[in-house]
């Protein structure tokens, strides 16, 4: 078990290093290959009347004049030991893990991301609870009532859920349930109240984003669960369990669903990890100030330190989630042993 964990952790670190190098190259090396000079790149971050000298100053401030490998080394070093930052009126130390400072807002990236993480986590956790319950329950019922009206209706809705993009369902739900609607069940989009401030308002304001996001995922989970349950319920050991006289509920839940859950857990781990790295469309549609919105704004604005930071955070969550999933296999499925 310990050996397995160490091996996986080393693999995770290597993976994160590769992700960081690839991302850094895309944003710092590729423009150079395309003929951009360091000063050209710095021109993005100066005012529109800035002279060539000012662009040169900006290139120096942003470190573009150094070789790319030096820039990358400086970025990696800052994560582990921090870095000093000249903010004009003085110099401050950016403590590790320091992901640098935004090229535009000039704010440190790491605290900015931490500040937004609760929004994304709130969205992801709430939506995950809804889609797991709704998706798995619908899938199980559809499998047990295969061919029934419920099955057909549920799978049709699931198909719609998978097909409709978030920015469509999100905006439609806002029009129907918000925007001055006297019967609106939720606050208008873009309202986020921290959990610690008021749990009830937190949940109330997130209800619409949760449901919208969960609708997309629940649909996929329902179809996946249904397929898994149909396969499992036809297995010999299910027939044996029934022959032994076990109650149907026990047969379905303990023997059928448990076996069908393995692929669900795999996909859930990756989905959840990805969401923690930012639910870009949902956060953009509902104007939630989370990691996803932060990422998309950073990409549009060419704010490279933010892009690097958010990419690493997302990669960390995915790698970490997949590790958890692998560990959970052993719990869910007795046939799996970690070695």
């Amino acid at each position: 078990m310990v050996t397995y964990l160490i091996r996986r952790l080393i693999g995770a670190v290597v993976m994160l290093a590769v992700v960081s190098m690839v991302t850094f190259s895309i944003f710092f090396v590729v423009p150079r290959w395309a003929g951009a000079t360091p000063v050209d790149m710095a021109t993005r971050y100066v005012g529109r009347t800035a002279s060539a000298e000012m662009a040169q100053v900006a290139a120096q401030r942003l470190g573009f004049l150094d070789p790319v490998i030096v820039q990358y080394g400086r970025w990696v070093k800052a994560i582990f030991v921090g870095a000093d930052y000249d903010y004009g009126a003085g110099v401050e130390h950016c403590s590790a893990p320091c992901f640098g400072y935004s090229f535009l807002s000039r704010l440190p990236v790491w605290p900015d991301m931490l500040d937004r993480l609760p929004v994304t986590a709130s969205l992801a956790i709430g939506a995950a609870v809804i889609w797991l319950i709704a998706g798995v329950a619908t899938g199980v019922l559809s499998a047990l009532k295969r061919g029934s009206f419920f099955d057909r209706a549920a799978m049709s809705v699931a198909l719609a859920g998978v097909s409709l993009p978030i920015f469509f369902t999100g905006l439609v739900s806002l029009v129907v349930f918000s925007y001055g609607n006297p019967f609106r069940v939720t606050a208008p989009g873009s309202t986020y109240t921290p959990f610690e401030q008021n749990p009830a308002t937190w949940a109330y304001n997130l209800l619409l984003p949760w449901i919208t996001l969960a609708f997309l995922y629940a649909a996929g989970y329902a179809r996946l669960t249904r397929a898994g349950m149909l396969e499992t319920m036809g297995e010999d050991y299910i027939r044996t369990a029934r022959a032994k006289g076990l109650p149907e509920r026990s047969v379905v839940v303990r023997h059928g669903l448990r076996a069908a859950l393995t692929p669900i857990i795999t996909i859930f781990g990756l989905d959840f990890g990805l969401l923690l790295g930012g639910a870009v469309l949902t956060e953009s549609t509902f104007s939630l100030p989370g990691i996803g919105k932060y990422a998309i704004d950073a990409i549009i604005a060419n704010d490279l330190p933010k892009v690097m930071g958010v990419t690493m955070l997302a990669a960390f969550f995915v790698v970490f989630a997949s590790l958890i999933v692998d560990l959970l296999y052993a719990v869910v499925d007795p046939r799996v042993r970690l070695s």
Binding site: V46, A50, P188, S287
Partner: protein, 591 residues
């Protein structure tokens, strides 16, 4: 919602309506008048363009909080570090520059009026020295009196482009600074009196390297908003700008939002232009653009801070619904969308070849591509838009009676330039701007009628000027003869609009907004305008510049920009100030 909460909500709503009805009064004044009453005027009747050229729903009622939202964000709320038009409009609620633009509807808003200063600047004969006297009694939010040294410090710190890269560079370019001055942070001991003197606490004198008769427009820049040196924290100053206006920051979180409350140390007696009606402002940043439009329409948000108009999704809804259309305005911005015709690329080094493009262009198709007459703008016939002082109407390249282009004249021009069968060039546009892509396609079709083969090349907007079309060497190497462009005025005179986009001396290796205009005669006219003291004569020179650029055919104007904006529910004193092309945020109140 439970039955009980429904009943409570209904009763609460009825009570609120009752209270609101009781508060309805009849006092109304002009926006420039003083505060004379607390009662709200009855809501004015909605009408299309009711906020253009006049004040919609005038009232002196104080109180309430105005809710702003924006799909983007401030570049910075630090006056030294901002270049967004909406920011220059809004920051007047918390900062007072030496002079500013009059909070008045229409063209009257272009008038420069004293703010922190007692009067407009007193110029020396050669327009190289400008003196301002500060009002007495103006204080920072902490109660400290504002002195001329605070204004000097503010201007000097704004010169540090390493710390404040976003702001304009006019003071950097024009002040007579000592050679050894680097910044207030790096060389604090260097004497800077050759650039700015403060002979006493109420007087500030600016010394320029060369004369500029329109210096009051520089003095209206946010950079002259005083900053107390002791409170300056460099980049971090944006986290709490020390207010001199009627409002101060309660919170400022870049990328999330801002909250402003009343500044207890602002004194109405020292301020001739502000009425300070609301109790505060709430600004939500990075809102979803479509969501923002819907909330503006429903009343959950009252002002779109950027003021660039509703998104395409809401556009047809607003125009198609008479009630919504009556809540909208269609102001003309001091902005032109155009295409640079780049003479560095053959055969466009020939004037007649450039003229062929002018004549062949389908102006109606271009206008449609830019979102039509309401959200795009009026068909432009010159570079300088009508809202710029001194604008003259002329059309050197009539596009036929129906504005779809004059094919015959285009072919004549092609013959004159030695390319009777046309030629092939590439056209650059910002790939993530659908309007520019559509405009490129409209040009492609129109020019094909005379044999000019246009190949469209899309480039990312973020790097468009830095790495692609704004880089002369890139254009030459890639045969980019046409490039989508657009420009909004820093202020509404010829200098504020034209100086950065037609002066060939501003062209550098990359990051150019002037991609095409290279004419010594234009440069000479610009120099002449700078030193022309009389405003009317100066405006005339700028009109000459505009005409010369069009004669050179370095620019294909598409539209003089307009936007369809929605007036938020419950707002009072709503009008578009031409100085910003936006609702005047200084004047707004709430019922």
């Amino acid at each position: 919602m439970t039955r009980r909460s429904l009943v409570v909500a209904t009763l609460s709503g009825a009570l609120l309506l009752g209270v609101a009805a009781c508060g309805g009064g009849s006092t109304s004044t002009s926006p420039s008048g003083g505060s004379t009453g607390e009662a709200a005027a009855p809501a004015a009747a909605d009408a299309f363009n009711a906020g253009i050229g006049k004040v919609f729903n005038p009232s002196d009622k104080k109180g309430g909080v105005i809710k702003f939202a924006i799909s983007d964000d401030f570049d910075s709320v630090d006056p030294a570090d901002t270049y967004y038009g909406f920011a220059w409009d809004f920051l007047r609620v918390y900062g007072r520059s030496l002079v500013t633009y009059k909070p008045a509807p229409g063209q009257e808003g272009n008038q420069v009026v004293p703010d922190l200063a007692e009067s407009l600047g007193q110029a020396s004969d050669d327009n190289k020295t400008w003196t301002y006297k500060l009002r007495t009694g103006v204080k920072f939010e902490d109660g400290t009196p504002v002195k001329s040294a605070d204004v000097k410090y503010a201007v000097l710190r704004s010169l540090d482009k390493k710390t404040f890269p976003n702001g304009p560079t006019y003071f950097n370019d024009w002040l007579d600074l000592p050679k050894d001055f680097v910044s207030v942070y790096k060389t604090p001991d260097v004497k800077t009196d050759s650039a700015i003197e403060t002979p006493d606490d109420q007087t500030i004198v600016f010394h320029l390297k060369k004369g500029y008769a329109g210096f009051d427009n520089f003095a209206a820049l946010p950079g002259t908003i005083p900053v107390p040196q002791a409170k300056d924290t460099g980049v971090k100053y944006r986290e709490h700008v020390v207010a001199t206006g009627p409002y101060m920051f309660k919170s400022a979180e870049a990328g999330k939002g801002y909250s402003l409350v009343r500044n207890p140390n602002w004194d109405q007696a020292t301020d001739q232009i502000r009425k300070a009606l609301p109790d505060g402002y709430e600004i939500e940043a990075k809102a979803n653009a479509d969501d923002l439009d819907n909330r503006l329409i429903s009343g959950d948000v009252q002002v779109d801070l950027a003021g660039t108009g509703v998104q395409p999704a809401a556009l047809s809804r607003v125009l198609g619904d008479p009630a919504l259309k009556a809540r909208s305005d269609n102001p003309t911005a001091a902005r032109t969308w155009y295409w640079s015709i780049i003479g560095d690329v053959k055969p466009l080094d020939n004037l007649d070849c450039r003229k062929a493009i002018q004549f062949a262009a389908d102006k109606v198709a271009l206008q449609t591509a830019y979102n039509g007459p309401f959200a795009g703008g009026d068909i432009a016939t010159s570079l300088m838009p009508p809202s710029i002082a001194g604008h003259q109407d002329f059309n050197l390249y009539p596009a036929g009676a129906d504005n779809h282009g004059d094919v015959a004249k285009a072919k004549e021009a092609l013959t004159a330039c030695g390319q009777p069968n046309g030629f092939a060039i590439n056209a650059a546009y910002r790939a993530d701007r659908p309007k520019e892509k559509q405009a490129g396609e409209a040009l492609q079709q129109a020019l094909a009628r005379v044999g000019i083969k246009l190949t469209l090349k899309g480039y990312p907007a973020g790097d468009y000027f830095a790495l692609y079309a704004g880089k002369p060497s890139f254009n030459k190497e890639n045969n980019i003869g046409l490039a989508a462009n657009g420009w909004g005025a820093d202020w509404n005179d010829g200098f504020g609009f034209l100086s950065q986009i037609v002066d060939s001396r501003t062209i550098r290796e990359a990051g150019n907004y002037n991609m095409s205009v290279k004419d010594p005669a234009v440069d000479a006219l610009i120099d002449k305008a700078m030193t022309t003291a009389d405003a009317t004569a100066r405006n005339g020179v700028w009109a000459e510049v505009d005409k010369k650029v069009m004669e050179d055919s370095y620019v294909l104007p598409a539209v003089w920009a307009k936007a369809l904006t929605v007036r938020g529910k419950g707002l009072t004193n709503v009008f578009v100030n031409d100085a910003y092309g936006l609702y005047d945020y200084l004047a707004l109140g709430v019922q």
